[in-house]
């Protein structure tokens, strides 16, 4: 049976004007960017003013990163109110007091958000398909990217739900979710660059090569979804820029960072979801249940 919370959320979300409006905006932004990039890359060369199929890679690259940015902007907004919104509406008690487990409630909320992201990905297929017309990228490449988008949405959605369970007001939860999103994307990157620059300058002097620095894997970058994304993109394009600079030096491109990034995201997501379910479960808070159980058994 479909999760009741997911069923209800899908019904109510799809009914409002907001979903088609956001969907249209999402498609509009993607299509607009596609047109701008296409014009810039295909027709505005100084040396050649015609169509250049080789420029497709740039368009593909920009669109995929842009789509990731859009997902990272949408997911916190849709999940940050998931539990705090129920609390503000005074419907949370009615929900947690039912036979539905707290974990099912949390999962239902997250799945509703993921379903929305999947819908966004599906509607982006026609735009990305134009790139496939000219060749260079396989359908499998797109599926791998979509899987990573969903894993990223799952991770950032779990953060949103977790924050929503722990803080009371939706305004607070939204702000914190975006701060965490920024920290895990821009923050980890800036932190890594600063740490690396400082550390290497101190140990080896300022003229350190990339290969020397490759032994210092910045673990926090595995929390950054752009690590996994760059790993996929560079692997698809046969280049090694981001991966080489940040992770493994100038080796041949691999999907290893994508695998680690995905595994870290999935493991952390389940931990966050479990903690969120504990938080909303009135009978499991602070381990009281176990203490009481022992007491009753004794008596």
């Amino acid at each position: 049976m479909i999760n009741p919370v997911l069923k209800k959320e899908l019904k109510t979300r799809m009914r409002t004007w907001k979903t088609p409006a956001i969907l249209s905006l999402y498609m509009g932004l993607l299509a607009g960017l596609f047109l701008i990039i296409s014009y810039e890359t295909f027709f505005s060369s100084t040396y050649y003013s015609g169509f250049r199929p080789g420029a497709l890679r740039e368009t593909y690259f920009v669109l995929i990163i842009f789509q990731m940015i859009l997902i990272l902007l949408i997911v916190p907004a849709t999940t940050a109110s998931s539990i705090s919104g129920e609390r503000e509406r005074q419907t949370l008690d009615l929900l947690v007091g039912t036979r539905l487990s707290s974990f099912s409630i949390i999962i239902g909320k997250l799945m509703a958000s993921l379903a929305q992201i999947i819908l966004f990905l599906v509607v982006s297929i026609p735009i990305l398909s134009i790139l496939f017309l000219f060749g260079g990228f396989s359908f499998g490449d797109m599926i791998l990217l979509f899987v990573f988008y969903i894993i990223t949405a799952f991770f950032f959605g779990s953060i949103g739900v977790f924050i929503s369970a722990y803080f009371k007001k939706t305004t607070t939860t939204t702000i914190i979710s975006y701060i965490i999103t920024l920290t895990l994307t821009l923050g980890t990157l800036i932190g890594t660059i600063m740490w690396r620059a400082y550390y290497l300058a101190r140990i080896f002097g300022v003229s350190t090569s990339v290969s020397q620095s490759s032994r210092f894997y910045p673990i926090i970058m595995y929390l950054n979804p752009f690590s996994g994304l760059s790993s996929i993109l560079e692997n698809q394009m046969g280049i090694n820029i981001f991966e080489g600079l940040i992770f493994r030096g100038a080796n041949t491109p691999t999907l290893l960072t994508f695998y680690i990034n995905s595994a870290v995201s999935i493991i952390l997501s389940f931990i966050l979801l479990y903690l969120a379910s504990l938080k909303i479960n009135p009978m499991k808070k602070f381990g009281n249940r176990n203490k009481k159980s022992k007491k009753i058994k004794k008596s």
Partner: protein
Amino acid sequence: MLRLENVTKKYGKFIAVNNLSLEIEEGEIFGFVGPNGAGKTTTLKMIATLLQPTSGNIFIDNIEVSQNVKKVRGIMGYMPDFFGVYDDLKVSEYLDFYGDVAGLSKEEKLQVIPDLLELVDLKNKKSEYVDSLSRGMKQRLCLARSLIHNPRLLILDEPASGMDPRARVQMKEILKELRRMGKTILISSHILPELSELCTNIGIIERGQIIESGSVDEIMRKVNKTNNIRLTVLDFTEKAMKLLKEEPVVGNVYNDDKSIEFNFEGGDKEIVYLIKKLVNNDVPVLSFKPIESNLEEIFMKVTKGDEE
């Protein structure tokens, strides 16, 4: 059906519920009465598995609630004092959602939802958005929600609060119907006369403790150690008052035109003696009857009335 054993709930140093014990038999309608902040809602939330007691045990159908929360939630339905509804759902969809949550099959929902809408008189509103309902209708819808899984025990926290008189009467009728259906109901309310009409037993709670409990009659007898009696005479009011004051079983005597009210500490024999004495002294007695206290008066007498 429901048993609370020395239940205490503390918030830091503040004791919301203090060593409270209570037992409610199957089919009983128990009224929970108390001033604001007395601990009613906290107690009901603990029974409804929405709060954990700091100490003590709560048993529903002989199951300790923290031992098998899921099973207990299947036996019990809870309606809070303040609650929200999903405004973006229609009335039937709202119940359908809670039917799903309760694990009902499609067939069960098709059978139960129309019956519940009929019970709470919202059948003609089933296709309307919850948002469009009046407060009274939302209260009734919430009651229907709490009944969706056919619970044997109902926990109702101020179910008629904020309702207009008509809506209150409707709610009372629904509760009477539920009583006829054999549900065990624990109901808290400030509308005391309604409770006295509806409940088989009541408990008066103040500062987190039950200070009186039993049937309405029992509590009246406990509280009214002295009866108040109203005597109506055709004439000779002053003479009647003088004769009454002579008797040791008569306390304070008040005069209200031809009606005299006085405190009386005697039994039936003393009543007969008093009437005989008045008649023998040519006082034209029209009526002589005890004044019955209602639940509100008892509540005022028993509780100290200071809000926390």
